[in-house]
Amino acid sequence: MHELAVTQNILDIVLEHARRAKATKISRIYLVIGELSSFVDESIQFYWDIIAKDTIAEHAQLDFQRVAASFECQECRTVYHLNKETIFCPNCASSRVKILTGEEFYVRAIDVET
């Protein structure tokens, strides 16, 4: 549901960076989205086509780099991914875990024409 507001934020960010570089067109946008960030890329793409209309980013391709959630057990150092049942260590069942990746949510880069 909130992907509309988020898509507007992405547009604001890329237009500002393109303006500073005096770009005339934005052709590609590289987004990094962690599994724990709760954003759905299909929705962002859907809104993009509406929101970016009549801007220099109108036909930009959105490139989504998904980052899986990963955890490191602080007892036995096992590194593992999210499963849908539990976040405890699958090796020793410890609950002392550290989140390594999965919370990313940013615009990494844009391809522009100047």
């Binding site: 909130h2 934020n9 976040i87 609950s95 990494r108 880069a109 391809d111 100047t114």
Partner: protein
Amino acid sequence: MSQQRLQVVQNILSANEAIAETNRQILAKARLFSINLMASPGAGKTTLIERTVRGLSPRYRILVIEGDIATTLDAERAVAAGATAIQINTGGNCHLDAVMLNRALTQIDPGYFDLLIVENVGNLVCPASFDLGTSANVLVASVPEGHDKPHKYPSMYRGVDYVLLNKIDLLPYVDFDLDFFRKGLEALNPNVELRLISCRTGEGLSDWYQWLESKIEYHRSLD
């Protein structure tokens, strides 16, 4: 015409975070302790607010900002309990964001109040991503939701300072593994405070009131 790649590396929610910071400054200036109250629908947020307002007023002046998709029912309940309430209808939006709170804060004098409770939209996913700028993030969980919720909604359980597990009067009647819940919470959020409460029987609420009072007094004592 030439092609080039520009490095950006900018958080997509940076606009929200900037406004959350403004809210934080407004609230700090007013020496107003504020909480962002989050939960799934039906966990008991509004009942907890009613209880809390009855427990702490008239000693403390309480402002409740209600985020609701369409109705004003929750705001009416807060007012009936003795609070001042401002309703924000999110118009179908699934969460409150910093701009909505900022607009609500301009409608009143925050310095008049001792405690601000922001009741977020009932949802365990979206509100976790949008910082409002309040002093604390509080989650109301409830026994009927099940003990697996920290494991299934890690972003929500990770970002809160205080968790109230409500409806503990139902523990004898449902399969709720308190240890599994507690360990899931601790794994994601080792420094969080967990309190077991029942808004129906009143069990555990005095601890919650004491925590609020100590925070309210602390914020009032700041220069």
